[in-house]
């Protein structure tokens, strides 16, 4: 790791202030991606602003027809939350499948979403459940949040405070993990959400995306059979040593079908 200055803050305002006064600050939430990246010397922030002490953005609450999860809530807390498990079991099970137990004890929903790894699981939930991302400045719709590979709508210094998930009438997430890293080669969140059917795919492309043809097919007939005939194009999908674009395209269909069956 390159040397940096570490600052622990107790509030969102202090975090933003600290970041603003540094050369090249980065917020660290759970640090499950940032710290390994820094260890490999692939990132060299001048300052790390640790959000670990910002208790105001931790925790899970039910707010009307939404589950609101503070940005600094760990994956393990989401996975074991009775509120999440009863309202959106798909979200709890998604969180329970991220990384490994030790990663889930440190990694946070805010950190994962802000990082926007194309193979991360949470983006599928944010888009697939039609969530809203709350920041220190504004709210951003889930569909607008992820802009490109590791790119989001967040502005310089802007900080996620919470994510609210409308409770769907049913939803399921199915993941095909990379055998080595266990990140998603393809992960599909299927939901019958308040605003209609959503099918969000992570891992397959440069960023999470919605599969419109499947959504259309499921709208009239919410069964696995309904999407059997939907052709998923391999154009623009990721290809690496673990999976080619064709295989990923195929897996989108398989995972989506299994998710629908699991709903």
């Amino acid at each position: 790791m390159y040397a940096f200055k570490y600052t622990q803050v107790g509030s969102v305002d202090d975090a933003v202030k600290a970041a603003g006064s540094a050369d090249d600050a980065k917020y660290v939430a759970g640090g499950m991606t940032l710290l390994p990246t820094m260890k490999q010397r692939l990132a060299s922030p001048s300052d790390l602003i640790d959000l670990g002490g910002v208790s105001q953005i931790k925790g899970i609450r039910k707010d009307g027809n939404n589950i609101v999860i503070g940005a600094m809530t760990t994956h393990a807390e989401v996975a074991s939350s009775p509120d999440v498990r009863s309202a959106i079991p798909a979200l709890a099970s998604l969180a329970d499948g991220i990384g490994d137990p030790q990663v889930r004890n440190r990694g946070t929903i805010g950190g994962s979403v802000a990082n926007a790894d194309p193979a991360a699981d949470y983006p599928a939930a944010v888009v697939g459940l039609g969530a809203t991302v709350h920041t220190n400045k504004r709210t951003i719709g889930g569909d607008q949040f992820f802009t490109d590979m590791f790119e989001t709508a967040l502005e310089e210094g802007e900080l996620i405070t919470a994510i609210s998930f409308p409770i769907p009438s049913k939803a399921a997430y199915t993941k095909f993990p990379n055998p080595a890293s266990r990140y998603a080669i393809v992960g599909v969140m299927v939901a019958q959400a308040a605003d209609g059917v959503r099918v969000a795919v992570t891992g397959a492309g440069p960023k999470v995306f919605r599969q419109g043809d499947m959504e259309a097919a499921l709208k009239s007939n919410f069964t696995a059979d309904a999407i059997k005939g939907v052709k998923v194009s391999a154009d623009g999908l990721n290809a690496d040593i673990h999976a080619g674009a064709d295989y990923r395209a195929h897996l989108v269909g398989v995972m989506a079908g299994r998710a629908v069956s699991a709903c």
């Binding site: 622990q8 499950m32 074991s80 490994d100 990663v103």
Partner: protein
């Protein structure tokens, strides 16, 4: 930047001046000379460095020492009661759950966290829980057996 970091490790308050960038595992190994916590990779996957911070298992190679300031940390060195092995350690010994011993401290610390939340895990649950702990010697067979036996012993204790 150098900072003084204190924490409670295995029931004792310890402190050292370290750089901001010092990892918890480095703090434990080099500043506290608790070398039972190992480093087997640099991508947060192997789990040889697993310790407990405030009662939860974490990878000490992916946490800064300064982030653990004031925390309760337990490492493999704090598991046995003097010379008497903890039932989980005893189960590893009795079931040949280790060979070269390098992954073992992380395995034991991980297993103890599992049993805390799931006192009676199934074989499948144990295998899935070990996703973050790599072993190259045992083929996992006897590690799984050890954890099941250790959990049983702890239930009986």
């Amino acid at each position: 930047m150098t900072v003084n970091v204190s924490m409670n490790v295995n029931g004792k308050t310890v402190s050292a001046d370290v750089e901001d960038r010092t990892l918890l595992v480095t703090y434990l190994r080099e500043n506290q000379r608790l070398t039972g916590t190992h480093v087997g990779c640099d991508t947060s996957q192997c789990g040889a460095c697993v310790v407990h911070v405030n009662g939860k298992s974490i990878k000490s190679c992916t946490m800064l020492a300064v982030q653990a300031a004031g925390a309760e940390v337990s490492t493999i060195e704090g598991v046995a009661n003097g010379d008497e092995l903890h039932p989980m350690q005893e189960a590893f010994r009795d079931n040949h759950g280790l060979q070269c011993g390098f992954c073992t401290p992380g395995m034991v610390m991980s297993a103890l966290d599992l049993v805390k939340t799931n006192p009676d895990p199934s074989e499948t649950e144990v295998r899935e829980w070990l996703e973050g702990n790599l072993c190259r010697c045992t083929g996992y067979h006897n590690i799984v057996k050890s954890i099941l036996a250790g959990a049983k012993a702890m239930r009986g204790a």
